[in-house]
Amino acid sequence: MSNQSDPPMIRFDNVVKRFGDNTVLDGFTCRMAPGEFVTLIGPSGSGKTTILRLVMTLERVTDGLIEIDGSPLSHMHRGGKLVPADEKHLAGVRTRIGMVFQQFNLFPNMTVLRNITEAPVRVLGLTPAEADERARDLLDLVGLADKADEHPSRLSGGQQQRVAIARALAMRPDVLLLDEVTSALDPELVAGVLGLLGHIADTTDITFLCVTHEMGFARDVSDRVLMFDHGRVIEDAPPERLFTDPREERTREFLQAVVGRT
């Protein structure tokens, strides 16, 4: 459980993101404690995924500041001033962050094992033997120890997503971003992947930032849930409060619509 007085693992300070004239994130301010599991909910197009993409440095902020464990992510210190980060700075902070994607994004040109070992070897400098051992432990964890030498294309969606989770964990990230990780899965595979993520959240001190439409999952594993609408957080509360007693009319409407659907 988080303690708000801890120095934050992630800090958003008045973050703005615009694509042309379209403002997708309009002054987002938030602190996330180490080990905290924060879920972002809200209608599509409300800016949730954009937040994950900004933290992963797949997008640049238009304005404002993001800090990871006290050091700026989207900016860097140069000559006593904060300037937009260059590729080198980004490469340095990126290793602390991992992401699991909706479409898995496994590399089809590598076996399952290579998908997991490639970055630890090339980026973190592990020996192939170390990376191999780490990967096999993780494949054990995600229940795919027998698939190490398969090609990703031979696996089901749920299995591919488990490999993607193992791949992200192999980098030992401080922050793990989950971008609608079950949206592309067949319904019968969803529970297994969510159960795995819940287990990982319980047994590690990784800070999770999660976008999902699985409200049951959000309720079970989150320490906090943020409700987004039109690029702003309209409600920020523990899940037991937000799901049972939403203060905002917009949150109530959204939850009714989502629960009605699932």
Partner: protein, 231 residues
Amino acid sequence: MPDNANRIVSTILEGLPFTVIAAVGGIALTIVLSLAAGLALLSRSRAVRVIARVYVEGLRGTSEVVQLFWLYFALPALVGLQLVPLYAGILVLGLNHGAYGAEIVRGAVRAVPRSQVEGALALSFTPAQRMRRVVLPQAFVEMLPPFGNLFIQLLKSTALLSFIQVTEIVQRGEQLRPTHGADLPFIYVVELLLYLVLALVITAVMRLLERAACRRIGREPVRNRFLGGVG
């Protein structure tokens, strides 16, 4: 078949090593230049992109024969550098087809889904690692069929080297012309068949490569099953 068919065939066959060397050399140079220029066309640096674009448009948009004459006849007059005919030929074949190949490389790299790059970025691969480990191996499969076409075109362009006296198969055939006027149909049929055999060899090699490349990325080597390996 004419009486002196054996003599004609053996004379033309003497040119075969030159045709093969020109084709293989030209293909090797084409591969190198295609990759270099194709990646340069995708560079973040505007200057690099402009240089690559000038090369591609310049070499693709001008006559191969004139390029050959320029390199072989004009260059010595300008700077006193006389190239060996075969080398001049390989250089022009490579430069010219490399310009076409650059567009193949550029197109194949851009066809790799953006999500693959983002997956690699989320694992903190450097831009060079993203290209080398993730994008190029996937783009490679897409490049092989158009490169097969390009190499066959290059093979047939080796006939142009007869203009600068490289004794490849067409040049050998032309040497027979003064004394074998009546056998011209046979001479040219032999030449055509030789090109056909060489082209079939290129096709077979490219098929093998394509199969191996498809297997490496876990995809069936059938074109219309493209989506099968990605989802």
